[in-house]
Symmetry: C2
Subunit: 352 residues, 2 copies
């Protein structure tokens, strides 16, 4: 069995502004370690899958920064999409290129910017998912046990058991309202965290069955670096619809299994989420240079320079080369309101 990571790294999140910028989105930020979240994502797979086997799909303008961030990934395997067309076209394309890699080749689709730990539990789950995908010719989605009525995630209803831990997918559920979410949590639904494990052959078959426009656009597509590959990529992204793999395939196939995760997961939706792994006795999460006096429960991030604070509680304080952000942790989502205001200001876009 050989694993081929397919990392989706096209995001443009604003929730980590001012550290995240258009040219440096969340997956390129060193939020959890000294390296980018994308590099963390690849490192977490080692030794299950080497970086040299990984494919990364990102926005075309981000490709140089992505390559610089993960030098272990061969340059041609970092693919810059001319247009963002959601996840299905990207996953189909990677499956197309991985097709023919051998009977024991398994693709592992992963987001590039989530917190996952411990890494060994994660790798064990991936390995189990890959074996299941091979043995059952199925698409295995990793399901995160839902522990709160989150309205921002999709949910998976698990059906009958298949093998030791995997279960059939009874249904994919779109983002629910709070009441429905609470019911999902009570009945043991799992979160869909965008992690899919499958053989390229199975995925291509499903694409052909459920997303024929994508399948036909794939025909004849050369591998990166082959003659005409750039133009073919342009044509492909111009031809395919913008559609998620959930909607294009997962909600339609009868061939989906779900494996409940046994690792900790967080999609790091805002600065507040960084507070999850408090680093000091006062519950502060600190990155960069900080001087704190009587400060607790706070997320302090100095990308540059020093953050000095006295007598504050539960704040987010972020300092970058040109912006300082201060807000209560519980208001971290409201950073997007600031970004919106900046977008409307005459000289605001320089800071986005």
């Amino acid at each position: 069995m050989r694993l081929y990571p397919v990392i989706l790294a096209g995001g443009r999140g604003e929730r980590f502004w001012p550290l995240s910028r258009r040219a440096r989105p969340k997956q390129l930020l060193p939020l959890l370690s000294e390296r980018s979240m994308l590099a963390d994502t690849l490192a977490r797979l080692d030794p299950l899958a080497p970086a040299s086997s990984a494919w990364i799909l990102t926005a075309r303008d981000l490709a140089p920064a992505v390559r610089a961030s993960v030098p272990g990934v061969p340059e041609l395997q970092v693919v810059g999409e001319p247009t963002g067309k959601n996840t299905a076209p990207a996953i189909a394309l990677a499956s197309w290129w991985l097709h023919g890699s051998g009977a024991d080749a398994v693709a592992v689709v992963l987001p590039s910017d989530h917190r996952i730990e411990p890494a060994d539990a994660f790798r064990k789950d991936l390995e189990e998912a890959a074996q299941t995908a091979l043995e059952r010719n199925a698409i295995v989605v990793i399901g995160i046990p839902a522990n709160r009525p989150e309205t921002g995630y999709g949910y998976i209803e698990a059906g009958e058991p298949v093998g030791s831990r995997a279960r059939r997918v009874a249904a994919f559920r779109e983002k629910p309202d709070r009441e429905t979410a609470a019911r999902y949590v009570a009945s043991g639904h799992l979160w869909n965290a965008g992690m899919f494990v499958f053989t390229p052959e199975v995925m291509l078959k499903e694409i052909r069955a459920h997303a024929p426009e994508i399948a036909s656009a794939l025909e004849g597509m050369p591998a990166p670096g082959e003659p005409g590959s750039e133009q073919a990529l342009e044509r492909y992204y111009a031809a395919v619809p913008s559609i998620s793999i959930d909607y294009a395939v997962m909600e339609r196939t009868r061939n989906a299994l779900v494996l409940p995760a046994r690792f900790g997961w967080d999609d790091l939706g805002s600065w507040a989420a960084l507070g999850g792994d408090a680093q000091d006795a006062a519950g502060n999460t600190v990155r960069g240079r900080a001087l704190l006096e009587d400060v607790s429960g706070s997320v302090v991030f100095a990308d540059e320079g020093l953050v000095a604070a006295v007598g504050v509680r539960d704040l987010v304080i972020v300092r970058t080369g040109d912006v300082t952000l201060v807000c209560p942790r519980e208001r971290a989502q409201d950073v997007r309101a600031l970004v919106e205001r900046l977008r409307r200001e005459a000289d605001g876009s320089a800071l986005l």
Copy 2:
């Protein structure tokens, strides 16, 4: 009557860190307008006394920055003290140099870093003090009506009236404890804000009578720019004791009058004091570029870059080129604790 401002600008305050640094103390900061507090201090005197008539005493290493900050003051009238020796030697020296400027010459000693407004009321009080000083051959100290039991200031007990508003100084009181301060406030004591008005001749006479070591060190002192003046300045500052004018002269002379101020005064003891003149409807005082969403009662100072904040109350947020400071307004005094910690850190002094 001609007024000669004598501005004492040798301070090294740390209470406006991180904006204030050893090389850029409070009087050189643009805390209340777009120019330095020292420049504000001189501008406030116009048209009562032109900048060309002013003398400024500062630390030798600060003299270039001081000159740059107040280009209207002749270069030789910005005196860099080789050593700080408190206020008496500086005031004696200025009086010595102003001696012989004419029978209508009056020196006005002023701190360089206080908030005073409105300026016209201030100038009227100075004019009245100067007339009183000339007519009575007295040293007139401006007394600030004490409106709270401040323990950080010296107090003046006013005695019998002299003329229309001036009164004899019954006693100078050193910084009191809170209980004593409350008694002083109740009995109408005034704060000593370090503003003294006198003819050079009267001050020199008092210096000779009460501080003979200073008086004898003055003998033969050339004016700035004259041959040997630099060496003479060195010798003078080496010879004189370090002593305040309050202790050396004011507490001893029988020739002191006090004029109660009719202007508003604040010594701007910390970032919190900047909140005194709130600028927006939510009670925020903002300098520099800020993006505030649901922020109130806060002091926001962006010396460089942008300060963005959401959902905070009564905070001080200061951003400089290398430091961001965040603290509640009521903890602004504790900035000094941070400065102390930085001083002890290996690479902290670069930020002081």
